[in-house]
Every structure is written in structure tokens, then in C-alpha cells.
């Protein structure tokens, strides 16, 4: 599992990697923390009944920022929050889960690398789908696909056209370690 975690970290390439592992939510009220961080206004308007955030509210705010040409950190934070909620930690359709919001807050405050959380979610999702034989995979599918592809050795160049496909962290590490 550890090599896989290192591969995930290397592919995602989060800056200021402090090697802190994401463990558990520390913030008592994640929702209000997110609302303050993103400047979303009233909590009740942007949350669904069971706790997650409405994608439509986030989308409307992002569009408004883009139209107004707004600058500053908030613009980047909103897009990053949307990617965390839709791509890295997907939940129900149209909802950004509190878990995704919590990982985002941890990253914003302490720069805690979310790679371990992404991998953990992926393992749980794979296990669920394998056990039941069907279902929706609620994990970071693009990352999983990238990981699979990065382990395929082929003489053709088709897998080496993209910058990330040159990264075979495990192979590079082994070559460097066992060279002598």
C-alpha cells in the first residue's frame, strides 16, 4: 500500500508537501468553516438537508466570479473546492459532501496532503463494487485510471505521449535503488 500511496502523491504533485497524513476531521463545524472560507453567504441556502453543499450554488458563484472578472484567492478556492467535491471525492449527484469539504479545509489550513484519503476512498469503493458486483464507484476515477495506465509497460509510444505517463514512480525508484 505504501508504494501506491507514494505514487498517488507523486502523480498529484501537491505543493508544499509536508508529509502529514489526513486522518480525521478536526473542525467541529465544517460547513460554517467552508462558508466563511469561500464567502458563500448564508449556510442554509447552500446546504442540502443532510449536510452536503449544493453544486448549483457553488456553480452560480463561480460563474458570477468569472463574469465579473473577480481576482483573488476566493476564485481559486471555489474552483478547487468544486474539483475536490466532484472529482477527488465524488458524492451524490449535485451534492458536494461534507467529507470532501473537510479534506479541503484541512488542505487550506494546514496543507495536509489528501492523497491518503483519496487512496482510502478508492480502496473502499473498489471493495464495495467487487463484493456486490455492481454499483457506482464513488472515488477518484481519473486518478485510479491514471495509476493503472502508469503501470502498463508497452513498446508503443501511445502511453508515453502525455507528461504523466513518463512517470513510473515504482520503476524509477527501483532502478535508482538497485542500480548498483
Amino acid at each position: 500500500m505504501t508504494p501506491t500511496l507514494e505514487e498517488y502523491k507523486r502523480i498529484l504533485d501537491f505543493p508544499n508537501n509536508s508529509h502529514k497524513i489526513y486522518l480525521k476531521r478536526r473542525f467541529e463545524d465544517t460547513a460554517s468553516e467552508v462558508v466563511n472560507l469561500l464567502g458563500l453567504g448564508k449556510i442554509n441556502q447552500c446546504r442540502v438537508a443532510d449536510g452536503g453543499f449544493k453544486w448549483k450554488v457553488i456553480e452560480a458563484r463561480m460563474k458570477k466570479n468569472a463574469e465579473e472578472g473577480k481576482l483573488g484567492d476566493e476564485r481559486y478556492r471555489l474552483v478547487a473546492f468544486a474539483i475536490f467535491g466532484l472529482v477527488l471525492f465524488p458524492s451524490e449527484i449535485g451534492v458536494i459532501s461534507l467529507e470532501a469539504a473537510n479534506v479541503f479545509i484541512e488542505y487550506e489550513h494546514d496543507r495536509i496532503n489528501p492523497s491518503s484519503a483519496i487512496l482510502g476512498e478508492t480502496m473502499l469503493s473498489l471493495n464495495h463494487c467487487r463484493t456486490h458486483g455492481k454499483g457506482a464507484m464513488r472515488c477518484c476515477i481519473p486518478m485510479l485510471y491514471l495509476w493503472i495506465i502508469s503501470h502498463i509497460e508497452t513498446p508503443k509510444d501511445i502511453f508515453n505521449n502525455f507528461w504523466w505517463f513518463d512517470l513510473r514512480p515504482l520503476k524509477v525508484t527501483i532502478d535508482e535503488t538497485w542500480k548498483n
Binding site: 502523480i11 498529484l12 504533485d13 501537491f14 505543493p15 453544486w55 456553480e59 463561480m62 460563474k63 466570479n65 468569472a66 472578472g69 476564485r75 481559486y76 474552483v79 478547487a80 468544486a82 474539483i83 475536490f84 466532484l86 472529482v87 477527488l88 465524488p90 449527484i93 449535485g94 488542505y107 473498489l126 463494487c129 467487487r130 463484493t131 456486490h132 458486483g133 455492481k134 454499483g135 457506482a136 464507484m137 477518484c140 476515477i141 481519473p142 486518478m143 485510479l144 485510471y145 491514471l146 493503472i148 495506465i149 504523466w164
Partner: protein, 99 residues
């Protein structure tokens, strides 16, 4: 369970001088009996039928990225924005699920 069965077999290797090939065969038979063998005919796990791996709302998120300076974004959040543009082959995900 797995550790205890390995210990039993290791003890057998030590006492009865089992070869590693024999050890492997016996260990596989135990796994089959417990229903944990990855072989399709021996496994009790159901076949993979329908898996939904869609990433929703990407079509709405991607246009907004045009208004963002991606270099600055990557400095702050790594390569997460580039993950969105990755075309995914469903067959690869489905193949992995069988292991």
C-alpha cells in the same frame, strides 16, 4: 485467519519437509475452501455486471477553468485540474475490479 493458516503451513514445512510447491497447492486449496480464491470458478464473489464510473458536472466545470490562471492554480493545488481532462477507458476500470 490468514496469518494463522500461514503459521500452520509453515509449521508443516518445518516438521514434514513440505516443498514450497506442495505448500502452494495446499494453501490454494484452503483459500478455495474459504471462498477467498480469486479464480472465477472458485470464488463466491458475484460477477461484475454494471459499474457506474461517471464523473458528474465536468462539462460545467471545465469552461470555468478558462477564467483561471492555471499556472497559479497548479502552484497552489497541484495537478488536480488536469485530472478533469483525462479521457477514461471504462474497460480498464472494469478489468481492475476483477482482481
Amino acid at each position: 485467519m490468514l496469518n494463522s493458516s500461514i503459521q500452520v503451513f509453515l509449521a508443516e514445512i518445518m516438521t514434514n519437509h513440505l516443498s514450497f510447491q506442495e505448500f502452494g497447492q495446499e494453501f490454494e486449496l484452503t483459500q478455495v475452501a474459504e471462498g477467498k480464491c480469486p479464480r472465477i470458478d472458485a470464488s463466491r464473489l458475484p460477477c461484475i455486471t454494471k459499474i457506474n464510473h461517471m464523473v458528474h458536472y465536468l462539462g460545467k466545470l471545465l469552461p470555468i477553468m478558462e477564467y483561471i490562471d492555471e499556472t497559479l492554480f497548479e502552484r497552489r493545488y497541484g495537478r488536480i485540474a488536469q485530472l478533469m481532462r483525462l479521457p477514461i477507458q471504462a474497460a480498464a476500470i472494469k478489468a481492475l475490479l476483477n482482481f
